[in-house]
């Protein structure tokens, strides 16, 4: 007999699918899931969006979503890239920003209206909290990160870039 699965079960299962580059954040935290549909007694369809257009991890994340949900709930899952929705950093949850900071990466500032990259200029240091920092490069170790320097504690730190 196929299990009776609700949308909520699927969202809960998705909380276990972590970003391969930032393993403390799930695809839910990141706001990558745009739609979950239970398509039958033993099947579901999930829609997702990549953070950056050229994100190299996207196929990996897509496969992970399918296998984790399939294995957790014992159902057949299809995953599709949602072309109608585009990811912006405001999709990230408040809890995610806290987790990110604790992980040592400064979270993106909230973007209001048209994004000016200058909002990155005053990014608090995730290590000591100082606002005495400067943007060293808008590009970091992954597409979604920038490099900053903290003049108070002397540490280089990364930030998840704001994106509209």
């Amino acid at each position: 007999m196929s299990p009776v699965i609700s949308q909520e079960d699927i969202y809960r299962a998705l909380e276990q699918v972590m970003d391969p580059e930032i393993p403390v954040l799930s695809v839910i935290d990141l706001g990558m899931i745009t739609d979950v549909e239970v398509t039958g007694p033993g099947s579901a369809h999930i829609k997702m969006v990549p953070t950056f257009a050229a994100c190299p991890a996207i196929s990996y994340i897509k496969d992970n979503i399918r296998t984790v949900v399939e294995n957790t709930l014992g159902i057949a899952v299809t995953v599709e890239i949602d072309k109608q929705v585009h990811w912006e950093s405001n999709r990230m949850t408040a809890a995610a920003k806290e987790k990110l900071k604790n992980f040592g990466i400064a979270p993106p500032q909230a973007v209001e209206g048209e994004m000016q990259p200058e909002i990155m200029l005053n990014t608090p240091c995730p290590h000591c909290g100082s606002e005495h920092t400067y943007l060293r490069s808008p590009f970091g170790s992954t597409l979604c990160r920038a490099i900053h320097y903290c003049k108070s504690c002397g540490q280089v730190f990364e930030q998840f870039k704001p994106l509209e």
């Binding site: 257009a53 050229a54 590009f139 597409l143």
Partner: protein, 254 residues
């Protein structure tokens, strides 16, 4: 009803610019003057090749085009429609930076214009790329400013690089041979002439801030030809190198 041949022509030239410029940017990996620059050019390379991929995919999915990998790697040189600007080797850092500055602002005005395109996949793509391109131009502007203000030598080198690159950059805006009016009439995009003026309006104030002189644009002859399949001697060897691994086994699943 959108004219598919005209649309394909536009997409191919945009995508080929992205692919070739992306490949040139990737050649800075491991060679940047400081580590942040190494990382920046590598990241921008990744973005640009991603943009090329997104465009080749639009061709594939919406216009009965070939598989993106095959289209990128097994076409003959004459089928490429990239501008001469992106084909040139990286040269010294001043040239690479000026090219990055001129190309990325051109790219930005182009994608911004596509927000209002009558071709729906362009609207989606332009929304997606808008935020990313802001980081590219932020980076370009910051370095143009820093090097122009650093000392006499760096200022002179930036001005020389600008003088030597501007005709190539103007070549980005080569109108399509037979499709230009159709594309404008069908509101696919505003046309190269319009984009060229928007681009000049965009780069001029930054050059002024950096105290760099924009050459007299009426006196330069844009380097056209790329959009029609005529290329510099640099493209052939680059394509050979780019496709080397794919062409070892074109049927393999990568």
């Amino acid at each position: 009803m959108i004219n598919n041949a005209a649309l394909t022509d536009l997409i191919v030239k945009m995508a080929d610019d992205e692919l070739i410029q992306g490949h040139r940017n990737s050649e800075w990996t491991g060679l940047g003057p400081v580590m942040e620059e190494d990382i920046a050019f590598s990241s921008m390379a990744q973005d640009k090749i991603g943009h090329a991929w997104a465009l080749y995919r639009i061709l594939h999915e919406n216009l009965e085009g070939e598989d993106p990998d095959r289209f990128a790697f097994v076409r003959p040189e004459s089928a490429f429609k990239c501008s001469h600007l992106v084909e040139l080797p990286n040269g010294a850092y001043d040239f690479s930076l000026i090219r990055h500055f001129l190309f990325d602002h051109a790219e930005t005005v182009r994608y911004e214009s596509l927000r209002d395109s009558s071709f729906e996949p362009f609207q989606q793509l332009s929304k997606k790329l808008k935020g990313e391109l802001k980081y590219h131009t932020l980076h370009a502007n910051a370095f143009i400013m820093q090097l122009s203000r650093a000392n006499e030598e760096s200022y002179a080198r930036m001005q020389t690089a600008l003088n030597e690159t501007i005709a190539l950059a103007a070549g980005i805006f080569e109108p399509a041979a037979i499709y230009e009016d159709i594309l404008i009439d069908e509101k696919i995009y505003p046309g190269e002439k319009e984009l060229y003026h928007r681009w000049l309006d965009r780069i001029y104030p930054i050059l002024v801030k950096a105290s760099l002189n924009l050459p007299d644009m009426d006196s330069i002859t844009p380097e056209f030809g790329g959009r029609k399949g005529f290329h510099t001697t640099h493209l052939g060897p680059l394509l050979k190198e780019m496709g080397e691994v794919f062409n070892l086994d074109t049927e393999a699943s990568w």
